[in-house]
Symmetry: D2
Subunit: 383 residues, 4 copies
């Protein structure tokens, strides 16, 4: 697929996923990490405007003088911006105006792309497309979070946006001790944090060939997993007690049966589906209860050809750190990944809401250990 | 005007004031005290449903089983409810659904009223009408607050919703010492907190016949009023330092000139208009700077026939307390006023956004001393 | 008693009350409002140094250049100071050094007083003596608060510092409607907030001749008083739910019996003693449960010759506001009372730990409504 | 040295370091992480009582029934305890009583040790001795923190407790790519987190042979290091802006010259000494400014025989995670290290206040990235 097609396909996907929304749904931001759809649609357009059109399309003028302030997310190099926790305070610009902004950016990008672009610029545009896809994934998780707080429990779609995924009997794959190669190689796109390809020494280990199911997780709950400090990090134990946590996000107990809010509405928890919306603290406690552990990201990547993955983002034991020899990109776009490399954990895999083609075995997702609004899950390992 | 007419007029006014809005404007709640228009439209309808239709219209069924939870504001007697700071998290029900709810309540109320109602029920309906009007006033102040945070500074109306008001030369009216009557009397509507009519001994005092103007307030600012602790309560001084306050809400200094955000957009501060959006702390500090004080609510009411009022809610020195012999109403509606009678200050008068006929000289408005998002102002007194 | 004797007696009393302490007890400050004894001993000495010796004893040099910073409480006019919540962070100066400071101030004050002082200076010194006595009262309440948090529950004294007080059968005194005089008159000392003497119109009312007993308060508790929102202000209900309050401060339930921490250690609650350590919220809720109310401070003062008082500071319904014609003193000492006249409630009476001669019927104590660490109690009134 | 001698030597060192204190100094805790000396002396004694005497000395009875509650730090398995932020609220037990407790524990431990102990118990006692030493190090850093907040800036010792350390010209050591062994080996003591010894693949790198000096750090400051977001993690940039940080902890600018609070009082910053009290955020920003990075803990350990270390705890780029094959100890003592293995960074080395013999090249210290009250410093690496 050529770059223009790829660009237009990604941009269309963002519009398409909003089709089931009503205007009101574009606005609220109930928590700092869950951005409103309107803001996300503006932000992904701003990304192309700020990093590409402004510098590479001659004579380009920003669509609106305040949109840089409104739609910059966290790029210090691009100037001051709306506070991250205040994106839901803005009723204007209207949804229509944001679509007009998108349309304008699309047209200008088409103009730029029709002239042909050099490889450096092509890479930057590809980054923008991947950025757009990341926000498509976030769209589903943010929308789910917002709807889940509404006592009316609105459904995003009737045709059950499928959250199910697969989980089977837990069997372990043996991996040999040795030097492995970790990181991205080849011509395809990758983020800077997947590079450089480098050698890693990995001790022999075993890794589970399936995700942990709701049924297995229920056993942990029923065995008092949330009440026994021995399974938990000190930080996780504090989190659990401060917030009164005793089950995964989105679960509700009704008359002795467990239900969960899904994008298709409230459904009974199916013990055969992989458990979802798990924090690192819970994943780690579950593993401790099993007498096992989570894999490192290096183990995961080394073994990833030998099991199916892609239904849940999988917590690893690894902290999000630079690879040996990591260099962040020059300029403002260098803020994309590098400045977050402290206090977060790496997740590997992908999820039921990851756009097709957006995941690969070297992809490093990262979140703080207390967050579970992504479609996160658990895969076990042992030494 | 008969009760049905009064009801329908008040209900229509709520719809009319929303005509300049776009759907998006109905949703955000940037701060706990500023409710979203959609919520307010639902809440005022709920008030009639919960307190009147449910008990007085035979066979009435609530419009929706969750609306009591969604639209109850603070009535413990009416059960659990949406957190006050989370009204802006709800995209559903849609704006159209809320209008349908209003329409349904209007029809059912018309049905009830067409049958004739006894005087007790009539009083309750009149309370609902006044409640609706209070929210009309809040609509403007909440909308102004929300728009003011938006870097696009949207205007509510082109035809400048008039915030100006009048303020002239400061002259003082002398009032004699003596016993005065305070509180509501007669057949017209009043809230329970305006009752009973009672005697108050007032010492001789003087009260200013005009509101303090922006020009006078600027003198206070230019004289270092915000930097001299002597004018401030300890609590006000802390508020000012913690929040870095050195001018009234909505004011902005640009190139040495003061501008203010208004419902018609950003306008230069006019020194002849009465100062607005003043907290009690600021009003009290200004008075101290003048070597004067604020009037008590008893002084204000006693003198109120001798000056013009109605452009700004005027802070008084009085705390919001029950009058001698005060009884709160029986049942849940008794929570309307009485339970707030601690830690708040009384304001008297009315403002440029108070609905016609909703203010009277015995009306007691009340807010915490640090709040200034209402159209509040300053009138001076001295002993 | 001449002024020198009065001064020395008050100063000695501060030292005497510390005799049961060990050095360690002088240091901790477990909460912002409870100052450490060492700080209080320094602060009361600083008061004489800063407001009297510095200006009125020729050639006086401050004892230590940093003590103004260390021991200033809240006087903006006296410069910057230790944060109020950080007084317990300071191990130095040592307790001995603070006693040396006291000794120095005592000597210099004796020198000043031996020369004779004019009436204006005499009044200022009398203010300092009363200030010292206020801190003696606070010493007991702060010490009790600190010890109460210690799982060892240390006793301040074996000879049970008597907290008991008297409470009898609840009988009501009738008071006639009319003009009363409120405020201080005569030559004795009073604070500026008790002045000027002024006329107040009071409606006929009844006031209870005894304090509410623990026994009566237990009836309120057993009747679900802490679980029924109808008795509570909205603000009190929030306080109660946020903090999980269901009994008075210092009470503990053990095997179905109520105990309370006292300055003599943990003792069983005696139903005949007046209830103590009650917040305004609780006092007001108790009164509502009884179908009564708290007296205003004007009612209390008017009736105070007709009942015994002095065992508990008694919450009134009155907000702490300036009397008509109130003028705060010139200069920094004017910050003593006036700047606190917002958001607080007035208490009248005195308590079992008030120094002899420090209370009078016009005395206005004031605290925020959520505070109960003073020996506060309840007296009922009704219209 | 036999175990009894080692035990008694460590216990005596804790008493000796307190000799310069006055009783008052044992009490305050100005911030959650800085424990009062009295608490620490009690806690280290409790460690021997709870983990050793209680289970291994026949007939042993706890010294006081409440001391387990008072002196347990964070061991969930040992029951409930004083809140970590409330250790400074306790004036009792007295300092003398805590010394009596220490004396009692010392006697009983001598009794136990005189009978001879098996190797498993011997290891547990050695753990207790190392625990005692960790608190000796914390004693200095906590004391420094507390004194630094006191406007009198008290000195811990006249004979300047030497904080200086050495720092020379920055030269780089080259290390070859290859498999290295990381972790503790041999018969000496180590914590469980240093085990097991395992292979690590390390890419070729260079590491600086000296600590960064105050002089080099001043260059960073003068070059605007604290004002340029490019050098900082997003989390560090937020920390810096929220707290208004623009220099290291304990530094003060006076008349254009930099001073720092030390345990010997306030001294001018010496450009030749290694910079100290640096957070991870600052260490990492400094390295970025230099175009370099911090070493990983694996690199540090591999190269540690080739440079001098021991004056500053050195921040590494590594997150605090379990080594491959890590097993935490059985029982409550297993809470010592393992439950903290999330969200912290590893430090290597030791510091000027580390007890002799307490550091080794495999030692893993760990703190959150915003903390700098330890004697932390910077060593650079590059790829």
């Amino acid at each position: 697929m050529n770059l223009l097609d790829a660009f237009q396909k990604a941009r269309k996907a963002s519009r398409d996923m909003c089709l089931p929304l009503i205007t009101e749904d574009y606005i609220p931001q109930p928590i700092e990490f869950a951005s409103p759809p309107k803001w996300s649609l503006g932000h992904t357009s701003w990304f192309f405007e700020e990093f590409i059109l402004k510098y590479h399309l001659e004579g380009y003028k920003p669509f609106h003088p305040m949109y840089n302030f409104l739609f910059n997310s966290y790029y210090e190099g691009a100037g001051s911006r709306t506070r991250r926790d205040s994106r839901g305070h803005l009723s204007r610009p209207s949804v229509d105006e944001v679509y007009a902004y998108r349309h304008h950016v699309d047209e200008q990008m088409a103009k730029l792309l029709s002239k042909g672009v050099n490889s450096e610029l092509g890479e930057l545009i590809t980054l923008g497309i991947n950025h757009e896809q990341q926000h498509q994934e976030l769209f589903y998780t943010d929308m789910k979070y917002t709807f889940s707080l509404n006592p009316l429990f609105p459904a995003y779609g009737d045709r059950a946006y499928c959250e199910e995924g697969t989980s089977g009997e837990e069997q372990f794959i043996s991996m040999q001790e040795g030097l492995y190669k970790t990181g991205h190689v080849g011509n395809g796109f990758s983020y800077d944090n997947e590079q450089p390809l480098h050698k890693t020494f990995i001790h022999s280990f075993e890794i589970c060939d399936t995700l942990i199911s709701n049924g297995s997780y229920l056993e942990f709950m029923e065995d008092g997993g949330y009440r026994n400090h021995e399974y938990w990090h000190e930080e996780g134990w504090k989190w659990l007690n401060t917030n009164g946590i005793d089950h995964p996000l989105y679960w509700h107990l009704q008359n002795g049966r467990w239900f969960q809010y899904t994008l298709a509405g409230v459904r009974e928890v199916n013990p055969k589906h992989p458990v979802s919306h798990i924090t690192y603290y819970e994943a780690s406690a579950f593993a401790a209860w099993k007498g096992m552990r989570l894999p490192t990201e290096f183990e995961w990547e080394a073994a990833s050809d030998r099991f199916n993955w892609g239904d849940r983002w999988e917590w690893t034991e690894s902290a999000y750190l630079p690879y040996p020899g990591y260099k962040k990109a020059k300029g403002t776009v260098g803020e994309y990944n590098g400045k977050f490399m402290v206090s977060q954990k790496v997740l590997r895999g992908g999820s039921v809401v990851t756009p097709t083609g957006h995941s690969r075995k070297t992809y490093r997702n990262f979140f703080h250990p207390h967050l579970g609004w992504q479609f996160t899950g658990i895969r076990l390992a042992k030494s």
